[in-house]
């Protein structure tokens, strides 16, 4: 187990470097100038020229290396070792103000949101996306497993058909329809939940439910299949012969095996739930990270694209690692 973790952690920087190179090359190729605005007043040619020089947008190799050294913390390390940071601190103290914030892993300024550093944007949005994604996965697990078990106990019964139908609807309906419908019913007509925004537990219910539906549907199908397989296995017959109650047989013996495919699905599903919530973020005005993916690309905001991609790539690798570890812990047969 320790070997696995160690191996993956050594692979991590290599994977990230490859992703960084590919993403930056692609983002660089997006047509348009990141310093230009989609509408309205445009900066003059001199300004664009000056900004390009300042952000090193005039040369791909220069940008590639300077972003890499600043995002990986090498710049910070260099500044600390050369005593530059200490000098700045002294200057600020002499002037009697707090020194401007410096980041160890500096992801650069956002080109579109002039006042914000990508670090701040990510620090603000990442917890939101994580919480929303995890809650959705939790809800999906509860709904999905319940529906799956009900379906498997009496295959082709009305209950099974009903869960199948709900699952189908969950997968097929786009989230902006579900989201808007839920908002209309549970926030405007019956004002139980807030219309949108972030910061209250009640505000998490509608968006997390909307986000969870496609996952719940998939988990339900996985569980149902696994359960039907498990319920015909010999060890279940043994368990029943022992005189165990049906509940114990189902939940303790059958579900344990049936859950394994669900568990392996959880890794990518959780990552997807955290990144793929763009539409839901929009409908429910949730300040998550998903929107920055899309907006970053649309505005060719290179720093934002790279920052968000790097963070997510790291998370994805760590997630898959976590699932692998969990898998081995639950099922010791796998080595």
């Amino acid at each position: 187990m320790l070997g696995l973790i160690l191996r993956r952690l050594i692979q991590l920087p290599v994977i990230i470097l490859v992703i960084y190179t590919i993403t930056l090359t692609l983002s660089w190729a997006i047509p348009g100038n990141p310093l230009e605005k989609p509408e309205g007043r445009q900066p003059s040619a001199e300004v664009i020229e000056a900004m390009k020089r300042q952000y090193k947008l005039d040369s791909f190799p220069a940008f590639y290396t300077s972003y890499l050294t600043s995002a990986t913390g090498l710049d910070y390390l260099g500044d600390t070792l050369s005593g530059k940071r200490a000098r700045e601190r002294e200057q600020a103290e002499a002037a009697g103000v707090a020194p401007p914030t410096t980041y160890v892993f500096n992801l650069g300024p956002s080109l579109q949101y002039n006042d914000w550093n990508v670090n701040e944007i990510v620090a603000d949005a990442l917890p939101v996306s994580v919480v929303l994604g995890l809650t959705a996965i939790l809800i999906a697990l509860v709904i999905g497993i319940t529906a799956g078990v009900i379906g498997a106990v009496k295959p082709n019964s009305i209950a099974d058909l009903a869960t199948l139908m709900v699952a189908l609807i969950g997968i097929s309906l786009p989230s902006f329809v579900v989201g808007t419908l839920l908002l209309l019913v549970f926030a405007v007509i019956f004002p139980i939940f807030p219309v949108g925004g972030w910061g209250k537990l009640s505000g998490l219910v509608l968006p997390a439910t909307t986000l969870s539906l496609p996952f719940a549907a998939y988990i339900a199908r996985l569980t149902r299949m696994g359960m039907i397989d498990a319920l015909t296995a010999d060890y279940i017959r043994t368990a029943r012969a022992k005189g165990l109650s049906e509940m114990t047989v189902l939940l303790k013996h059958a579900l344990k095996n049936a859950f394994l495919p669900v568990l392996s699905y959880l890794g990518p599903a959780t990552a997807y739930a955290m990144t793929g919530s763009f539409v839901i973020e929009k409908v429910f005005s949730i300040p998550g990270l998903g929107q920055h993916f899309v907006n970053g690309v649309l505005n060719k905001d290179l720093f934002l694209i790279m920052g968000v991609v790097l963070i997510f790539a790291t998370m994805l690798v760590l997630f898959n690692l976590a699932v692998d570890v969990l898998y081995r812990w639950v099922d010791p047969r796998i080595s």
Binding site: V47, D115, T180, A187, K252
Partner: protein, 641 residues
Amino acid sequence: MLKLILPFVLLFGSIFAVVASDQPDPPADFTFINRGDVTTLDPQRMSWMQDLRVARLLFEPLVRLDVMTTDYQIVPGVAERWEISEDFKEYTFHLREDAKWSNGKPVTAQQFVYAWRRALLPETAADYTALFQIIDGAKDFFEWRSEQTRLYSIRARDLTAEQKQIESKKLWDEAATYFDEHVALKAVDDRTLTMRLEASTPYWLDLCGFIVFAPVYEPLVSQYEQIDPDTGMIKLQLGWTKPPLLISNGPFVLENWRFKRSLFLRANPEWWAKDTLDIDTIAIPSVEDANSQVLAFESGAVQWVSDVTADYRIQMLADKKAFYDENREQYEELKAQGLDAFAIDAALPDDPRKNVHALAAFGTYWYNFNCKPTLADGRENPFHDARVRRAFAMCIDKQRICDDVMRIGTPVASNMFPPGAIAGYESPKGLKCISDAKTPAEKQAIIDEAKALLAEAGYPNPAEMPRIELLFNSDGGHGLVAQQLAKDWEEFLGVRTFLAQKEIKVYKDDLKKQNFMTGRAGWFADYADPTTFLDLNRTGDGNNDRAYSSPVYDGLLDQAKEETDPEKRMALLAEAERLIMGEDLPLVPLYYYVNIYLFDPDEITGISLHPRLQQDLFNIDVLGDGKGRDEVKHIRNKELN
């Protein structure tokens, strides 16, 4: 089983902890949804409408424009009085003694010089730097500095780190000296600011009320400036625009700003005119989705939606019309009393249908014609010929575009700017088009005239013309207008058309590089002078995407620049507008923009309906909340109805 459940219990616990630790802002007196997310609160760098709107709450420039008057009266801001020379070139402002920053320190003339100098540095990337270059010597300084830093960055490649430190510092000292010596902007003492302009500029006072001309608190901002030894430019560190650091001098102070979540503002106890405020706190939540914005209003979470873009706004406006029809008699009676539109709404019976408001905005939607002889790919460009442009501009049924495509009450545009937006200026009559025809015979006459123009230009058979390409961007509903336009040209002229739909960045790029035949565009005015639109068609202007170049037109604008008699000046500008709207047609205006608001007129007052549609939210009063005067505010001088 426990093994399986344990991780999830832990997860749930941490989710709860994260959400519980994330406290939202308290409820505010007034809550509204801005046009979009605020990108910056640095006055000199901003240009988005949503940024300007919030900045007007936080900062105060020399003068203010009173948006609750029909002629946008200029009233004292930080300056309590001012003198203007007869030729509109020399301005002296006297700052009031009680103008203070939110930390209690006085606002000084030197801080204005500092802020405006920032706007004139190319590295600040101020979108409105051109407006500051009206000051004598400012343009020269801007260009000089651009050149100096460009040369430095080449020189710096061969310098050692230590040399760079010294050299870049020297470069900056030179720039500061150059500014003091060459730019005619001076702080005579702490409370007197003088400036000399390059040319007579009667609208300069109006500009001094524009929020990008607001001062910034030098002791704070200068701490965030650093000289970059590699480029020699001033590099601004981020952070000073955020609470609790931001120090401002306007009606409100920034208490909280969370990216893409919300802003929270509180009345500034140090503001000299704080007694005029009728509310204490303003919250600006970020709600991006068009439908969610309307839902937020209907659930009572917000009191004003400043830009309703949900598709069903068309239905909402139809409902409002039905509401007026039901109360026709009372409506006419109130109108006869001279009440403005919001006051009429407030007086009518309570009904949710009356909460939607369509207002004419100071902006125009148009199609550009590429005026270059050849297209970017070398093909011949039929629109190089003004007669072709005129023919195409005539053969548009603008009324049909407004009535059948837009359906939100946009007025047909026959000129560059909406009537009544600029005091003392009247647009000449624009070129006639299909929708001006009252009878089929008149319509045929217009078509015949257009076809004759095409024949003159060498296209006797329009069907054989090169295929006409219409460039537009995919989002924002521009496709429908393009389709209707293409249909008009096919129907009336018999030409072949092609709809070139592009992603916004590509579209923008194509416009800039003149890689189009005709392409959609639009413009909102910055200040109350015709030049805010007319300058766009000057030869070589950065926003002249049409590549239109006419010595006569440029000459008229230059002449107007020298003219010191305001009336004669306006006549020259009107002649320039006539030239492009009646003869040369580098662009054809389709309609004037309309802005749709959502608010309950029985609850909110202090929103201006002047066509410039600037909203100064320190005028807002929430009726019946027991704070402030709680009286309906009318726009003064009733002409506007």
